[in-house]
Point group: C2
Chain length 408, copies 2
């Protein structure tokens, strides 16, 4: 099999080209279960918010100009025209010289354009109110439509719904929102030596770690993960499982042996499923060179490297990106931790690297240390807090250098 | 009611003192649903990982010293003693002068201490193998227990389980893990003017936004949220609902009217439930001053400020911290985005502030802008990407100043 290694940028480009705009179905979900889902279309406000001029304090509504120049020694004296009750539309209007009590959240009577807070008022019970602070027009008032105007787009297609987006939809009276269905990811573990985690290894058998790490990583991204179990390294068995997963899932991940023979089987299986088949086989990246990306029936089939830590990093960097493209998620801001390297780390020329690091907080900020260990160790990842991207052209990282750490 | 405003540090201290070490029950969950859960006790490795000396490459196992000095012009010539099959324990041993093929992940035969990669070998089919690269002892071998030694703590009590922690547990053969039960949070919305989101406001009614935002914020933190619906501003009704929630939930959140009268009712209800009652009423923070924290039957009762954006921020800053303490979660690294302020922002002396900001990515990094709007607007939060903490002593933020933005 040709092993035509692509650069990281080329790999991203191939993935984007093939899977961005993937046709994911839509569904309507209740707001209670909409958190983290991706809006499948723009949502517009169907009314003004607030739908009336609303006070944001407890106090007295006024015509602002009536209070100009008011002070403690010379309060503005206004006639009380009524009292506004929460939730009720006032049945009186405010003309010059008049005022009325309005609670926080209450509706301003017609004519009033501002509020003076309770604490700047004195009520002697004689039907007048004394206000010892001037109000500028608009003071402590949210006017009709100030928050959102009818017709405004409040949720953009492709946005991952946050708590505040859900709050906004609730405020506008939407009980449900249209989102893309969750991406379904099928996980196939291969290898003659791989056994169920509940079993005790005999000889040199090894438990099926990748199914569980891929499942958790997928859940973390909001995908629905389906395990198709463990298959022996037999062409026909792998082919059948991949076909089964392709029926049901948007992404199929084949993880397992990283020996040359096993990889060849995965490649052959992907090629057998129809065009375009294997899109790339090998990425110039450390760890994770023997990664396979294929496409069949419009869906993605990924061959992950066999070492759990490599599979983990490739998932974090490439599969998560693939998923975002398939889901049509618009680019988001990715938080990170800025840290200082505690040692020199020489680069791997010609190959980008994603270096697992641990972080320690000190008074002067975070310190990051590369996590060392042998290829294939799981503790490489459990000891790490995140990873640093080292670009291909880089000469490596220097002690004291500031780096951006993406947390796991 | 006394309104004895506490500083932010005092508030955190009071919350920690009263709720850290909260007695949350434990449960056993399958790894498939353990992501994000908090380990309720240390987990130790019950065996060495790997349980045998494992090759991390395809190649030939050797006694390292047999290869010292080997080169292309002078390869080491070794006798093939056999071939190791994946998953099987080799039934032969390697003495000096011998070698054997071992696939990636295969077990090294006894006696071998290192591997030479396939690509540095030549096999002429005559029973000998020629290796043209020397191996140092340990080369490409993960020795028994190198990854994790039997008895090592692999999961610490209080850690929030990440994908790699689950991978580790899978590798060690744990199907289930002991975690704290999810915190249950009961949400009560109060206010005569508040209506169900599906209803159309009449007069100056307003839809129940806070139930949905608090629910989503709680879900985001891995809590189980239960809505107790909307209650009128009637003492007995609120008391009954709070009692109902207290029975079932670890945290009860009363959100609603921010008018003085409503807050008083919440305070009275909390006081009526038994000692210690209200722990704090009022935090010197912007937004969110009228926050109430109480304790009854050992559980937390929170009165959130009425404005949705204030309630949101108080939840983000205080309730999430409360939840972490109740769950016994050990401190985690919080990622952020470093950004540069695009304008001066004067501080609020004597009061800490959590300023909502939007972010824009430029070539020189992120630029953060304060999100302006009137108190009570929901769009204050939907337009924001995160928030900046401005400490009490600060003179505010200057244009060009670097700030840490916590993403929402």
């Amino acid at each position: 099999m040709m092993f035509d290694v692509k650069s990281v940028e080329e790999a991203f480009e191939i993935i984007k080209e093939n899977f961005a705009g993937y046709n994911l179905e839509q569904e309507l979900v209740y707001l209670q279960s909409a958190l983290g889902r991706i809006a499948s279309k723009d949502v517009c406000a169907n009314e003004d918010m607030p739908p009336f001029n609303r006070s944001s304090v407890d106090g007295y509504c006024v015509v602002a100009s009536d209070t100009f120049g008011a002070s403690e020694s010379m309060p503005a004296q206004l006639e009380l025209a009524g009292e506004v009750k929460m939730g009720e539309k006032p049945d009186f209007i405010i003309k010059r010289g008049k005022s009325a009590y309005v609670p926080t959240g209450g509706q301003l009577p017609e004519g009033a354009d501002s509020m003076v807070m309770m604490e700047y008022s004195e009520d002697f019970g004689d039907g007048d109110i004394f206000l010892n602070k001037p109000a500028a027009p608009g003071n402590h008032v949210v006017f009709k439509g100030d928050d959102v105007k009818e017709g405004n787009v409040v949720i953009k297609k492709g946005c991952r719904l946050r708590a505040q987006d859900i709050a906004m939809l609730a405020g506008l009276g939407y009980e449900k929102v249209e989102v893309f269905k969750k991406l379904k990811i099928g996980i196939i573990s291969t290898g003659d030596e791989v056994i169920e985690i509940k079993d005790t290894p005999q000889g040199a058998q090894i438990r099926d770690i990748n199914t569980y790490s891929v499942m958790a990583l997928s859940q973390m991204m909001g995908m629905e993960a389906v395990s198709f179990g463990i298959v022996k390294d037999i062409y026909k068995d792998i082919e059948n499982k991949v076909k089964e997963s392709l029926e049901e899932c948007d992404i199929t991940v084949v993880s397992g042996g990283s020996s040359v023979g096993t990889k060849d089987v995965t490649v052959k299986v992907i090629e057998s499923l129809g065009k375009p088949g294997v899109l790339l086989h090998g990425i110039a990246v450390k760890p994770g060179k023997p990664t396979i990306v294929g496409k069949a029936k419009g869906k993605a089939v990924i061959g992950l490297p066999g070492h759990p830590a490599s599979a983990f990093m490739i998932f974090k960097v490439f599969v998560s990106k693939l998923a975002k493209w398939m889901e049509g998620e618009t680019e988001n801001i990715i938080p990170f931790v800025e840290a200082e390297m505690d040692m020199n780390y020489p680069s791997n020329n010609g190959r980008e690297e994603y270096l697992a690091v641990s972080l320690e907080e000190t008074e002067s900020g975070y310190i990051s240390s590369p996590v060392f260990g042998k290829s294939g160790m799981i503790s490489l990842m459990t000891r790490a807090d995140g990873y640093v991207h080292i670009s291909r052209g880089s000469e490596g990282l220097n002690k004291g250098q500031k780096v951006k750490v993406n947390l796991f």
